[in-house]
């Protein structure tokens, strides 16, 4: 789509283009030098690519000729014509390889696209345009024109703005005006994005604020809106001071800086992920602590007299089992209790007579707290997932790999000398590899080769799937065996209690061993395969590891919810939820112990071994993906266990703290910076997604299933007399309805919406429609992007054409001049 541009030199736009750089003072004087060198004999400006032009110009123009108007252009051209033809063709512009005349070059250099980003005046006018566009966009429907965030002021936008020969001051005034009329968030974003120095931004901001204050004081604000205004300002100030306080509390700042200084962004992302998990668990604990643990701890239902022996820390049972730590301790009545008898008829329905006192409905609180905690965690995770997605995934595939590698590969966070050296070597290697890849003729691999490769892939996947299934079956039968063993032990009562407790640790140990050894097997298998790119290999490894962990968790959930929960009496339990909570505690603990062992053997001993025995200089590399998946696995266990043990987040927090320090010291001592390229932002997105989709989703599904269909134990816990935990909510609705008949609407709504599966189908249908709509929008945007790319190419062609025309017109004039001169001379 080419436009017909008026090629008249006396056109005001041309004039403006010629004049604008001369007017504005700039940080980079490269332009002024081009003009100034007319007056002096050319300080060789290193900024000029038109360096070879200098000698030309010096010879050409002896007098000061300010670039002021098109008339001078013509005159200068004619005057310089005799030197020009002698000067000959020189290689100036890299594309064409022809010699451009000085005038052509001057016009080239003053083109709008080449002055943007150059000096302050240009920046201000550019942002003036941007804010104007933004204002218009906010007021009207966005047009297709506004889609691409290009900073390039096309000729169209010049027209929109009028002339650009205003002085900088008035431009700034207009910018301030525009900024003022934008909503606050847009304004802040614009100001932050402006590439001006801090002092200038402050000035502009003050001007905007001043104007605002003046306008406000002029308007006779009613006292209500003034009050609202002051409240908002005060709230914002207090929010900022709270944020700065939080920021100063940032744990581990110096340690993280040390890690990033030595190992770069990749390894840092593991520790940042750990930090995120700590915050999730802190949030979870605050919620459960405030609403469940605290009220129950203040009104203990009974006192337990079991003494503390060290084994509790390992098994979680013993003296821990009758504390706030587990589900069974929690009351199933409204706190504080008035009546004497335990269990039986006393359930949530009894609103005691002294209702003016603080009453806390424990079962309801338990149900809603867990539900809300999961819901809010889900929202936070989905929000952060969408944010990182937006940052790291792009709509269309980019094929400028080499460019991206050149410009975004250098990790500025790395500050240790040795690591910088290693990074330089790595980048060199990667560039060489990429170059080799790009330049080699892509030989079509023979059918035989491809078939071989597929076979190898097939064998590898078979091994992986077979081993995973084998381990699943192993864990299934082992858990069945343990179950039967417990049943037997219950029948014969002469078993050593210590043995019994120790036996409970066997299942967690087996699962942890499998989680440790099988990924190593997957790695081995992966070595024999060949992949097109190392990132595909990384994804496949993550996929296999994830498959293993999720299948393990699936089998365990089946074991607990499908085997232990229905038959808990046969193994001598009064409270199966307590038992499951304790199991999860044991699993978390075993996971921690095995992480410790893995760090010890995998990193420390391996380093000693490779140094002393193999005599290699290379230390082991920190496997980021495997460690992150271990963290995700631990977090899934914690989420599964919150329902049964509200204090489990505390255990998880302690575990994460210890893991942080252990891994940090191990990485510093034993590992070296990774050699392979690691795309940190993509990987972070993947890990957050994995935390959300299989991990949190799986845990929520489990918890929902437990609440919906499994019968709680009859003699402990807040739901002991109900059929399912979910009935607590329903019960409460019925009671509310009984007491206040006007609220029957609510309970009817509850019946129709929450319990009716039809509503869920409708909800899912709407959700799918929204997703379809968004995917269509993305498709449309993709099309627009390709159209705009074509447009850019066309405009490039236009530019080339115009330059060539300019040059040929100039040549014609030269030739005509030469012809005249020769005619003159002959006469």
């Amino acid at each position: 789509m080419s436009r017909n541009v008026n090629f008249d030199l006396s056109h005001p736009l041309m004039e403006a283009g010629l004049e604008s750089p001369a007017d504005e003072e700039g940080v980079h004087d490269s332009f002024q030098q081009l003009i100034a060198e007319h007056s002096d004999n050319g300080a060789a400006s290193s900024a000029l690519e038109l360096q070879q032009l200098q000698s030309d110009l010096d010879e050409e123009s002896r007098d000061n000729m300010p670039l002021s108007g098109p008339e001078h252009e013509h005159r200068r051209r004619q005057g310089a014509s005799d030197l020009e033809c002698d000067g000959g063709e020189r290689e100036m512009d890299p594309i064409q390889g022809e010699g451009w005349s000085s005038d052509t070059l001057k016009i080239l250099s003053s083109m709008p696209s080449r002055t943007i980003g150059r000096n302050r005046g240009a920046i201000i006018s550019q942002y003036c345009n941007k804010t104007l566009k933004l204002r218009r966009r906010r007021q009207t429907r966005p047009s297709i024109r506004d889609f691409s965030p290009s900073s390039r002021p096309s000729i169209r936008s010049y027209g929109m703005e009028g002339d650009t020969t205003d002085a900088e001051v008035s431009k700034r005034e207009r910018l301030v005006n525009n900024l003022q009329n934008l909503p606050v968030s847009d304004r802040v974003r614009m100001l932050r994005g402006m590439p001006l120095s801090v002092a200038e931004k402050k000035e502009i901001r003050n001007l905007v604020m001043q104007k605002e204050k003046r306008i406000l004081s002029n308007k006779k604000l009613s006292c209500c809106s003034q009050l609202k205004y002051y409240i908002i300002i005060a709230a914002r100030k207090s929010w900022y001071s709270w944020l700065s306080f939080l920021h100063s509390l940032q744990p581990w700042q110096t340690l993280l800086k040390r890690v990033s200084g030595r190992f770069g962004t990749g390894v840092l992302s593991y520790f940042l992920f750990l930090k995120t998990l700590v915050f999730f668990n802190v949030f979870l604990f605050l919620v459960t602590g405030a609403f469940l643990v605290l009220p129950q701890a203040v009104h203990p239902p009974y006192r337990d007299t079991t003494s503390f022996s060290g084994l509790e820390l390992l098994t979680g049972a013993g003296s821990f089992s009758h504390t706030v730590m587990y589900y069974g301790y929690y009351a199933n009545y409204t706190l504080p209790r008035r009546s004497r008898d335990e269990g039986g008829g006393q359930n949530a329905s009894t609103l005691t007579s002294d209702s003016q006192q603080f009453s806390y409905n424990m079962p309801l609180a338990y149900f809603f707290t867990i539900g809300m905690a999961f819901f809010i965690t889900c929202i936070i995770l989905v929000y952060s997932m969408s944010k990182t997605f937006g940052r790291s995934f792009r709509i269309n595939k980019s094929n400028s790999i080499l460019t991206m590698k050149t410009f975004s590969c250098w990790d500025f966070k790395v500050i240790k000398k040795k690591s910088v050296q290693i990074m330089s070597e790595n980048i060199g290697t990667q560039l060489k590899e990429l170059l080799a890849e790009l330049t080699q003729k892509h030989t079509k691999s023979t059918f035989c080769k491809r078939f071989c490769r597929l076979m190898v892939h097939g064998v590898a996947w078979t091994i992986c799937i077979a081993s995973t299934t084998g381990c699943m079956a192993g864990v299934y039968y082992f858990s069945e065996f343990i179950h039967k063993d417990l049943q037997q032990n219950h029948r014969n009562l002469d078993v050593n209690p210590l043995m019994k407790e120790a036996k409970l640790l066997s299942l967690p140990t087996v699962v942890s061993v499998i989680n440790l050894l099988l990924p190593a097997l997957f790695n081995l298998v992966g070595w024999m395969e060949t992949y097109e790119s190392p990132s595909v290999f990384a994804y496949v490894a993550i996929g296999r590891n994830l498959m293993l962990k999720m299948s393990m968790l699936g089998v365990l959930c089946f074991h607990w919810l499908g085997r232990v929960a229905p038959e808990y009496k046969s193994i001598g339990l009064t409270c199966w939820e307590d038992f499951v909570g304790q199991e999860l505690y044991r699993f978390l603990l075993m996971d921690f112990i095995f992480t410790l062992l893995d760090t010890l053997f995998g990193e420390l001993l391996w380093r000693l071994f490779s140094e002393k025995v193999l005599k290699r200089k290379r230390k082991p590399v920190f496997d980021i993906a495997r460690n992150v998946l271990d963290l995700i696995y631990g977090q899934t266990l914690a989420w599964l266990g919150v329902l049964f043990s509200p204090v489990l987040p505390v255990v998880q927090i302690l575990k994460l703290f210890l893991v942080f320090y252990i891994k940090m010291s191990s990485v510093m001592l034993n590992c070296q910076a990774p050699r392979k390229p690691y795309r940190a932002s993509q990987m972070t997105t993947i890990f957050i997604t994995l935390l959300c989709i299989p991990s949190l989703l799986g845990a929520s599904v489990c918890v929902t299933y437990t609440m919906w269909s499994i019968t709680p134990s009859t003699s402990c816990g807040p739901f002991r007399t109900l059929d399912t935990m979910f009935k607590a909510g329903k019960h409460w609705m019925e009671i509310l309805e009984k007491d206040n008949p006007s609220l029957s609407v609510l309970s009817k709504a509850h019946t129709y919406f929450v319990e009716n599966p039809f509503f869920l189908f409708v909800g899912a249908g709407i959700f799918l429609i929204v997703i379809y709509f968004h995917s269509q929008v993305v498709d449309g945007q993709r099309k627009i992007i390709s159209l705009l790319q074509d447009q850019i190419q066309n405009e490039g062609e236009d530019k080339k054409f115009l330059i060539n025309r300019l040059q040929s017109v100039h040549k014609q004039k030269q030739d005509a001049g030469k012809h005249l001169k020769s005619q003159d001379s002959t006469c």
Binding site: P94, S151, S244, T403, T406, S424, G428, L431, L435, A680
Partner: protein
């Protein structure tokens, strides 16, 4: 701008600036004293000491273009290189940093210098030349043989790692 980073780290950064030369930098900045720290001091900061681009970074952010920075320049530098800076701003300054000859274009010679600094002159001449050609091929949209600011920004938009690597932790 009022976000938590500027509130908290402005203080921290002032103290870091002051620590570079306590005798030159007064504690009291209310009269806006005109203090410029020479490039040698800035370049000796642990965050920049071993960075091959430290000279360009100092030159880009300093007022005089030589690397001697006032406190404002210093704050500017670390705020652009922080986590909070928007992508376009970072791309703008990265462009300036990689533009060695300050002509507002990244031409072939700029690219060669960049590559040599990145790889510490490990690539051969041929390889450097080929990489430069490929880069210009890939990224030059308006076909003038060198990268302008928009070409650079256009490419950066597609590089998700840029935000995390163009970041100095203070």
């Amino acid at each position: 701008m009022g976000n938590k980073q500027t509130i908290f780290t402005a203080q921290q950064l002032f103290h870091r600036y002051r620590d570079l030369a306590p005798q030159l930098v007064p504690l009291d900045y209310t009269n806006h004293p005109d203090v410029k720290l020479p490039y040698e001091l800035i370049g000796s900061m642990p965050e920049l000491k071993d960075n091959p681009f430290r000279q360009r970074i100092a030159e880009v952010f300093s007022e005089d273009g030589e690397g001697n920075m006032t406190l404002d320049d210093f704050l500017d530098m670390f705020s652009v290189l922080s986590e909070m800076a928007p992508r376009d701003l970072k791309a703008y300054y990265a462009f300036k940093i990689y533009d060695f000859n300050n002509d507002d274009f990244i031409c072939k010679s700029d690219l060669e210098k960049t590559l040599n600094k990145l790889t510490r002159n490990e690539l051969t001449e041929d390889e450097v030349r080929m990489v430069c050609e490929k880069v210009i091929d890939e990224a030059d949209l308006d076909n003038d043989g060198r990268l302008s600011l928009e070409d650079f920004q256009h490419m950066i938009v597609r590089a998700p790692d840029f935000l995390s690597t163009f970041h100095i932790r203070i």
